[in-house]
Amino acid sequence: MTALLKLSGVSSFYGAIQALKSVDLEVHEGEIVTLIGANGAGKSTLMMTVCGNPRARAGSIRYDGQEIAALPTFEIMRRRIAQSPEGRRVFARMTVFENLQMGAEVAGNPDTRTTMDEVFALFPRLSERSAQRAGTLSGGEQQMVAIGRALMSRPRLLLLDEPSLGLAPLMVRQIFAAIRDLNRRTGLTVLLVEQNAFQALRLAHRGYVLVNGAITMAGTGAELLARPEIRAAYLEGG
């Protein structure tokens, strides 16, 4: 299997503060890979660095065999990488329909309607609410909008930043089921950043553990779940 996304020796900084320390990470085609870690470990930074914001100051990021670390963000996102950013960030005053359309427009997806029908099939709730302003939806529904919007560009690689943030457990299960379903049916590759380590590791094929900006452990989801230090650090009580 070749890696769809391969980070080698990636370091990135916020000003003088080093947020990522020589990170190596691979995501293969058709895989769900999860990245877990505590608050401030650098999970979101890693995801944003893949998107070129902030730029990686050292190391290489290869996507589909091409170096993308030096490209501007919008160029990266046009290569069928889609991101559902942390905190959802839906366009509050625009309708659900417009939000979804925004996802398709830039990627130059000509068949918006079919893709949107697929998103509606995945999240039937969105089709009921398509004319409603995204800002009036509940948190879980907004998360669906954010994921649906990312899917509208028909991505090969989907970057999901904390989709479970602030959601009720039932909603989290729904969202995770949708991710699994997408991956099985369409072979969509997913890189998932999560605090909710237990659910994320159960969902993922493989996982990485990030501590203070460096990868400390890697393995299959089941392996990581079985490790006592993971259980102690991330799963106790969860």
Binding site: F74, I76, M77, Q83, F91, M94, E98, Q132, T136, R149
Partner: protein, 422 residues
């Protein structure tokens, strides 16, 4: 009731503190120099007014609890219907104004229409793209001076210069856009404010090009397909060509229709753009810049086009201003102009075309109506602004019509929205 009285009493105390010196003491000249005169009765009146006003405010609030949802929905429906009739009605009145109104109202119409156009132009930058621009008058000035200089130096006509003025302003829009790409909100506002001042100061001091504080006079009027509007009535003039009596009203009516057409062009372009990917990208940018990036939108280009296109319409309006006044000087392009245009956009409801037109009508037209109040005009004007913003904090027309929809669009009151984060 009791807290209302207590609050009114406290307000009255504050008023006493403020007005005690501001109103209560007057300096008068007397043979021995300046002496102080006391006016306790004036202070008493002011304090009483504050007390009563505060009390009435509380009573009014107690009576106007938020309406129940059903009534609210009905009100929205009514507003929507009203809006549907109001816009065409305004348009018809605007179109036939020269036929029904006298010289004074026509001049006022031209003024209002200029501000409608400026408001619509700035609406692209502030209302749609969400970039707070306090220096919009700079583009107005660039357009005005471009036409003035080209026409007085090279003898070019209005219609030749109009696109040039637009392009010049457009270029200045990009020029402003580049340094402020990374700025948002307050920081952006400060830089645009400075930009507006820089343009004005340059115009004032570059005497060889702009005439400095003396301005440029003798700017030619526009022609209708080469027909001039002057009073000689000979061949080559409008009156001579059609064989009618020359009349000043003809020229004024013509100017009115020119600005009317320019304003409609602005509106049409904005409405078209809103339905295109670019317009939607502007609105998305206003909502969330990070999300825009993550969707692969080139934020740089999106911002620059917003600045450029907004500036272009400002430039058109400027060229029109120059040709109407036949005289330009830096005094016409002070910060207050930017502030008025911005107030029109905010008052109208950011992003709403009809709202901006209404706000321009109220602000500019209303300002003229209160002319008899003389120096109190500014006071009434300011009070009206404050009142409108208290009663309708999101502007006169705060509902946003979706640019695309499955089936029939449904309007959702903005009151249900969480406050948008800056």
């Amino acid at each position: 009731m009791k807290p209302a009285f207590r609050d009114a009493f406290l307000s009255a105390l504050v008023a006493l503190g403020l007005f005690g010196t501001m109103i209560g003491l007057v300096t008068t000249t007397s043979p021995t120099g300046l002496t102080l005169r006391y006016r306790p009765e004036a202070v008493a009146i002011a304090v009483a007014v504050v007390f009563a006003g505060r009390l009435l405010f509380h009573l009014w609030h107690a009576r106007h609890r938020p309406a129940p949802k059903a009534a609210n929905a009905a009100r929205i429906e009514m507003l929507r219907r009203g809006g549907k009739i109001l816009a065409p009605a305004l348009l018809v009145v605007a179109a036939i104004l020269p036929l029904i109104a006298g010289r004074y109202y026509l001049d006022l119409g031209i003024l209002v229409m200029t501000y409608v156009m400026l408001g619509w132009g700035l609406n692209i930058v502030v209302g749609l793209a969400g970039l707070l621009d306090l220096g919009y008058v700079a583009f107005y000035a660039v357009g005005a001076y471009t036409y003035s200089i080209l026409s007085t130096t090279y003898g070019l006509g209005f219609w030749t210069c109009l696109p040039v003025a637009g392009l010049m302003a457009c270029g200045f829009g990009v020029l402003l856009g580049f340094p402020v790409l990374r700025l948002r909100g307050d920081y952006l506002a400060i830089v645009t404010l400075a930009f507006g001042e820089i343009i004005r100061v340059v115009i004032t001091n570059w005497v060889s090009l702009t005439g400095g504080p003396n301005g440029i006079a003798g700017i030619p009027r526009p022609t209708l397909f080469g027909l001039r509007f002057d009073m000689s009535g000979g061949p080559g003039t409008f009156a001579g060509f059609f064989g009618i009596e020359p009349n000043v009203t003809q020229r004024v009516a013509f100017l009115y229709y020119v600005i009317f057409a320019l304003a409609l062009l602005t509106n049409w372009v904005t409405l078209r753009l809103r339905r295109l990917p670019l317009g939607r990208a502007w609105e998305a940018l206003r909502e969330d810049e990070v999300a825009c990036r993550s969707l692969g939108i080139n934020v740089t280009n999106t911002k620059l086009t917003a600045f450029a296109i907004g500036a272009m319409f400002g430039g058109f309006a400027g060229a029109f201003f120059a040709t109407r006044q036949a005289f330009v000087s830096p005094e016409s392009f002070t910060f207050i102009e930017s502030a008025i245009v911005l107030a029109i956009v905010v008052l109208g409801g950011l992003g709403s075309q009809l709202g901006v037109a209404l706000a321009a009508l109220i602000m500019i037209g209303g300002f003229e109506v209160f002319r008899d109040l003389q120096e109190y005009r500014m006071l009434v004007f300011g009070l009206a602004l404050v009142l409108i913003m208290i009663l309708r904090p999101r502007g006169l027309i705060s509902g946003r019509t979706p640019s695309v929809a499955l089936g029939t669009p449904k309007l959702i009151p903005t009151e249900q929205l969480p406050e948008a984060a800056a």
